[in-house]
C-alpha cells in the first residue's frame, strides 16, 4: 500500500521534477514529430497510450465479430453467414479478445501506471518496450489478413485443438502460427520489462510489501507469462512441424497423440486465464479503497492469495479435459485442485467486501465498474466452482454453460476492470475528469447489456446447447434471442465509451494532482495530466510508514 498522505517533501519534489520535465517535453517535441515520434517513442506513458489505443481497436474489431456471431444466432436457421465463416468468426473473436484486447489492455495500464506507482522515471528497458509494442500491430494485421486468404482464416476455435488445426486446417494456419509467435514474443518481452522495473526501480524506501496491489498482481502475472508463453510457443511450433515438415506430434497415424496437444495447450492455457484476471484483481483492489475511503482490508492476505492462485494455476489444467478420457485418478486429482482455487479467490472477494464495510462510499464511474466487477466476477466464480465438479462437468462441458462462465469472468470481469481503470486514471492521463453523466450511462447500459447477453447462456447450456454451433434446435431460441439483444446493447454501448474517452482527451473539468479525494497512491502526487517525464529523481520514501 502506498502512503496515505504522501510526505510533503515528495510532493514538492515531484512538482519541481515535473517542471524540468515539461521543458524536456517541449524539447523532445522539436526533434520528433509526426508519426515517427510514435513509432520511435521509448516513453512509458506514450507506449502505454499506444497499447491502450491498440487494445481498444482490437476490442472493437473482436466485438464486431461477436456481433456477427450474435446476429447469426438471433434465431434458428442459417440467415447471415455460412458455417465455415461462422467458425472463423468464433475463432478470431476469441484470439483477438484474448491476445489483442485484454492482454495488451493490461500491459498498457502496466506501462502507464507501474512506473508512477513505484516512483520510477520510466520502465527499466524503454527501447525493448517500444519493440514489444510494435510487434503487436504487425502480428494482428497478419492474423486478420488470414481471413482473406484462400480457404479462409483459422476456423478451429481459439483453443485450436489438433488435428482439426493441423491435418484438417486451412492453408492459412502457418500465418496464424507466425502471428501468435509474434504476439507471444511481445508478451514475454513486456513481462521481462515489468519484472525488471518492479524489482529494481522502486523509489528508495518502498519495500515489496509497500507496493500497491496493482503492481503486485502485475509482478505475479509477469512471472506467469515468463513461465507459460514458452509452452504456447512450443505447442504452436509442434503444430508448424506437423503441418509443414511431416512430423506426427499430434497425429495418431504417425504414432502421435491428439490429447498431448490438449495437455500442452491447457498447461499454457490455464495460467493464461489467470494472466487475464490477476491484474484485474489489482485494479479493483486499488479502486475500492479509494472510493470507500478506507484502507484495503487484509493487504497481506491479498498478496498471498494472488500468489497461491498463480501457483495453483499450474496444477489444474486438465479440468478443461474431463471428457477427453482421462483415467479416474487424474480426473479426481484435477477435480480436487480445481475446487481448491475457490479458497484464495473467496478470500479476495471477502476482503473487498470487508473493505466496503464501514467505509465512506461514493459511486463515481470507476467505483461503479469495480463494484460490478466484484458481483459479476463472483457469479463467474460460482459457475466455475460448479464446473470443477467432474461428474457434473460431463454435462456442462463444451456447452453454453461454459461460454457463460468464461464470459462472466472475462467481460464483466477482466474487461470491466480495464474500463474501471480507464475511468479511474483518465484524470491523470489527460488532466480532465471523464464526463460523469455519460460515464454512468455507459456503465448502466453495459451492465444491463452484459447480463442480458451472458446470463441466458447458463440456461441454454444446461438445457443442452453445445458451444460453437452456427445453428441450434428450437428449444434454445428464446435464450439466444435474449442474448443477441443483450449483445447488441452491450456492443453499441461501447461507442459511448469511445466518445467519453475522446471527449475527456479534448477537454472537460480540470483535474488536480490528486483527482479522487480517497486516492492515496504515489501516482496522485504528480500533476494531472502527468507530464511526459515524472520521478526523474526518485521520491525518497525512506522512513515513511506505508501501513
Amino acid at each position: 500500500m502506498a502512503p496515505k498522505s504522501p510526505p510533503k517533501a515528495t510532493l514538492e519534489h515531484s512538482q519541481s521534477a515535473s517542471g524540468s520535465a515539461a521543458a524536456h517535453h517541449v524539447e523532445e517535441h522539436h526533434y520528433r514529430s509526426g508519426p515517427l515520434r510514435w513509432l520511435l517513442t521509448t516513453n512509458h506513458k506514450e507506449i502505454g497510450s499506444l497499447y491502450l489505443i491498440f487494445s481498444l481497436s482490437m476490442f472493437m474489431i473482436g466485438g464486431a465479430m461477436a456481433l456477427i456471431i450474435r446476429l447469426e444466432l438471433f434465431q434458428p436457421g442459417l440467415q447471415m453467414v455460412q458455417p465455415e465463416f461462422f467458425n472463423q468468426m468464433t475463432t478470431m473473436h476469441g484470439l483477438i479478445m484474448v491476445f489483442g484486447a485484454v492482454m495488451p489492455g493490461f500491459v498498457g495500464l502496466a506501462n502507464w501506471m507501474i512506473p508512477l506507482q513505484v516512483g520510477a522515471p520510466d520502465m527499466a528497458l524503454p527501447r525493448l518496450n517500444n519493440f514489444s509494442f510494435w510487434l503487436l500491430p504487425i502480428a494482428f494485421t497478419l492474423l486478420l489478413s488470414t481471413l482473406l486468404m484462400p480457404g479462409g482464416g483459422p476456423n478451429f476455435g481459439w483453443t485450436f485443438y489438433a488435428p482439426l488445426s493441423t491435418t484438417y486446417a486451412p492453408p492459412s494456419t502457418t500465418f496464424f502460427i507466425f502471428a501468435l509467435h509474434m504476439a507471444g514474443i511481445s508478451s514475454i518481452l513486456g513481462a521481462i520489462n515489468i519484472i525488471a522495473t518492479i524489482l529494481n526501480l522502486r523509489a528508495p524506501g518502498m519495500r515489496l510489501m509497500d507496493m500497491t496491489l496493482f503492481v503486485w498482481t502485475w509482478l505475479i502475472t509477469a512471472f506467469l507469462l515468463i513461465a507459460v508463453m514458452p509452452v504456447l510457443a512450443g505447442v504452436i511450433t509442434m503444430m508448424l512441424l506437423d503441418i509443414n515438415f511431416g512430423t506426427s506430434f499430434f497425429n495418431a497415424a504417425g504414432g502421435g497423440d491428439p490429447v498431448l496437444f490438449q495437455h500442452l495447450f491447457w498447461f499454457f492455457g490455464h495460467p493464461e486465464v489467470y494472466i487475464m484476471i490477476l491484474p484485474a484483481f489489482g485494479i479493483v483492489s486499488v479502486i475500492i479503497p479509494t472510493f470507500a475511503r478506507k484502507r484495503l482490508f487484509g493487504y497481506a492476505s491479498m498478496v498471498y492469495a494472488t500468489a497461491s492462485i498463480a501457483i495453483l494455476s499450474f496444477l489444474v489444467w486438465a479440468h478443461h479435459m474431463f471428457a477427453v478420457g482421462l483415467p479416474l485418478v487424474a480426473e479426481l486429482f484435477f477435480m480436487y485442485t480445481t475446487m481448491l482455487i475457490a479458497v484464495p479467490t473467496g478470500v479476495k472477494v471477502f476482503n473487498w467486501i470487508t473493505t466496503l464495510f464501514r467505509g465512506e462510499i461514493t459511486f463515481e464511474t470507476p467505483m461503479l465498474f469495480a463494484l460490478a466487477f466484484v458481483v459479476l466476477f463472483t457469479i463467474g466464480g460460482f459457475s466455475g466452482l460448479m464446473l470443477a465438479i467432474a461428474p457434473a462437468d460431463f454435462q456442462y462441458h463444451d456447452t453454453y454453460f461454459v461460454v457463460a462462465h468464461f464470459h462472466y469472468v472475462l467481460v464483466p470481469g477482466a474487461v470491466f476492470s480495464i474500463m474501471a481503470a480507464v475511468y479511474y486514471w483518465l484524470p491523470k492521463w489527460t488532466g480532465h475528469y471523464p464526463d460523469e453523466r455519460l460515464g454512468r450511462w455507459h456503465f448502466w447500459l453495459s451492465v444491463i447489456g452484459v447480463n442480458l447477453l451472458f446470463f441466458p447462456m447458463h440456461f441454454a447450456g444446461l438445457a443442452g446447447m453445445p458451444r460453437r454451433i452456427p445453428d441450434y434446435a428450437l428449444q434454445f431460441a428464446d435464450f439466444n434471442m435474449a442474448s443477441s439483444i443483450g449483445g447488441f446493447l452491450f456492443g453499441f454501448s461501447q461507442l459511448l465509451f469511445i466518445w467519453v474517452i475522446v471527449k475527456c482527451v479534448r477537454g472537460g473539468v480540470k483535474a488536480p494532482a490528486s483527482a479522487w479525494d480517497g486516492a492515496t497512491d504515489l501516482e496522485w502526487t504528480v500533476p494531472s495530466p502527468a507530464p511526459l517525464h515524472t520521478f526523474e529523481t526518485p521520491p525518497d520514501l525512506r522512513g515513511f510508514k506505508f501501513h
Binding site: 436457421g77 482439426l164 470507500a292 462441458h397 463444451d398 438445457a463 443442452g464
Partner: protein, 372 residues
C-alpha cells in the same frame, strides 16, 4: 451420500412447480439413468451451495453499499486486518469443498466402472456423422442428420426436432448395461446425450469407454460437443431405447436387411438404377462437403462437377471413395457403406452435373476390391 442427494432433491423442489414440469427447458435434465440422476443431484447441491454463499456475500456487500455511503453521512472506520476473521473465512470454504468432494468422488467412480456390460457398442465420429457398430452382432451403420437443408435455409418450416433428428438412431435395450466405446476417423468429436449424462470425446487413434443403463424406453437426443469443422452443429445423436424383446426384433431385422443388401451385390445393375440409388446416397453422405451441385468448396473440399482429372481416371475415383484420402476429411467408405451404395454413388457422380461419362460401376467390382 444418499442424504446429500435427498437434500438436493428437497432443494430442487424449492425451484417450484415450473422446474418439475419443464425441468429440461432451462435446467439440466434429470435424465433416465441412475448416473444421470446422481449427476443432477450433484449439480443441484453445488448450485444451492453457490446460491447460499451468494446471498450471504452479496447481502453483506449491498448492505454496506446502502448503509455506509457518504451521502448518508458515513465516516470511514480505520480497521484493515483481523487475523481470526481471515482464518475463519479461509477454513469454512475449505470444509464446504471437502463435503462436496465426497459425493462427487463416489459418482465419478461409478461412472468409470464400465465392467460387465451386456452389450458393447462402438461409436465412431466422422466429419459429420456418427457410426454405430454393435460389436459381435455384425450390425454397423451411419447415423446422419435428417433435417432437410431447406429447413436450415429457412425456405421450409422447421420441424419439431429441428437439427436433433437422424435417419437411423442408435437403438438400445433398456435395463441393460451398455458399454460405449468411442473413437474417431478424422478429427476429435464428442458424443453427448444429456438424458444419459454421457459425454465422451471421440479421439482419432484412441478408444475411450463409458457406459449407460437406461431405465425408461424413449427417444433421447443430443449433439456433437467438440468443434469438428464446418458441420459440427449438424451431427446430432439420437438414442432410441426400447424393451429387450423389441430390441431383439429390431436387431434381427437389421441383420436380415444387411443380408438382403449383400445379395444385391451379385446381380448386374442397370445404369439408371445405380444413378437413382446413388443420388440418395450422395445427398446424405457427400453433399455436405461436395455440395448439392457437385461444385465443392475449394480448396478444402474439391469439386466433382467438371473435375476432368477425376472423370478420366475411374480407378482413382473408386480408390478415393473406397479407401479415403489420408489427412483429409475424405473418409474410407469401404467399411461403412455397402458395395452397392459405393458403386451407386460413384456411378451417380460420374453421370451428374454434366459429367456424362456413361460409366456404370458394378457392385460386384467394388465387392471384389473390398474382399477378394
Amino acid at each position: 451420500m444418499r442424504k446429500m442427494f435427498a437434500l438436493a432433491g428437497l432443494l430442487a423442489s424449492l425451484n417450484g412447480s415450473y422446474s418439475m414440469v419443464h425441468a429440461s427447458d432451462w435446467n439440466m435434465p434429470v435424465g433416465v439413468s441412475q448416473v444421470s440422476r446422481d449427476v443432477y443431484g450433484l449439480h443441484m447441491i453445488i448450485f444451492w451451495i453457490c446460491v447460499i454463499i451468494g446471498v450471504i456475500v452479496f447481502g453483506v456487500m449491498f448492505y454496506s453499499l446502502f448503509r455506509y455511503r457518504r451521502s448518508k453521512g458515513a465516516k470511514a472506520a480505520q480497521f484493515h486486518e483481523h487475523t481470526t476473521v481471515e482464518i475463519v473465512w479461509t477454513a469454512i470454504p475449505f470444509l464446504i469443498l471437502i463435503a462436496m468432494a465426497i459425493p462427487a468422488t463416489a459418482t465419478l467412480k461409478n461412472m468409470y466402472d464400465a465392467s460387465e456390460a451386456d452389450y458393447d457398442v462402438m461409436i465412431t465420429g466422422h466429419q459429420w456423422r456418427w457410426q454405430y457398430d454393435y460389436m459381435g452382432e455384425d450390425v454397423t451403420f451411419f447415423s446422419n442428420m435428417s433435417t432437410p437443408r431447406e429447413q436450415i435455409a429457412g425456405t421450409e418450416e422447421k420441424g419439431e426436432h429441428y437439427l436433433l433428428e437422424v435417419d437411423q438412431p442408435l437403438v438400445l435395450p433398456v435395463d441393460r448395461k451398455i458399454r460405449l466405446l468411442t473413437t474417431s476417423a478424422d478429427v476429435i468429436h464428442s458424443w453427448w446425450v444429456p438424458d444419459l449424462a454421457v459425454k465422451k470425446d471421440a479421439v482419432p487413434g484412441f478408444v475411450n469407454e463409458s457406459w449407460t443403463r437406461i431405465d425408461e424406453p424413449g427417444i433421447y437426443r443430443g449433439q456433437c460437443t467438440e468443434l469438428c469443422g464446418k458441420d459440427h452443429g449438424f451431427m446430432p445423436v439420437v438414442v432410441h431405447a426400447m424393451e429387450q424383446e423389441q430390441f431383439d426384433t429390431w436387431l434381427a431385422e437389421r441383420k436380415q436387411a444387411a443380408a438382403e443388401e449383400a445379395g444385391g451385390v451379385d446381380r448386374e445393375w442397370a445404369l439408371d438404377e445405380l444413378i437413382e440409388r446413388g443420388e440418395k446416397v450422395y445427398a446424405t453422405i457427400c453433399a455436405s462437403c461436395h455440395q448439392a451441385e457437385g461444385q465443392g468448396m475449394p480448396p478444402t473440399f474439391p469439386g466433382l462437377a467438371g473435375n476432368q482429372a477425376l472423370m478420366d481416371d475411374l480407378d482413382r475415383h473408386i480408390d478415393v471413395v473406397v479407401n479415403g484420402v489420408s489427412g483429409s476429411a475424405m473418409a474410407a467408405f469401404s467399411g461403412t457403406l455397402s458395395p452397392v451404395d459405393i458403386a451407386a454413388v460413384i456411378t451417380f457422380e460420374r453421370n451428374a452435373w454434366g459429367n456424362d461419362t456413361g460409366d456404370a460401376v458394378q457392385p460386384a467390382d467394388i465387392q471384389a476390391l473390398v474382399s477378394p
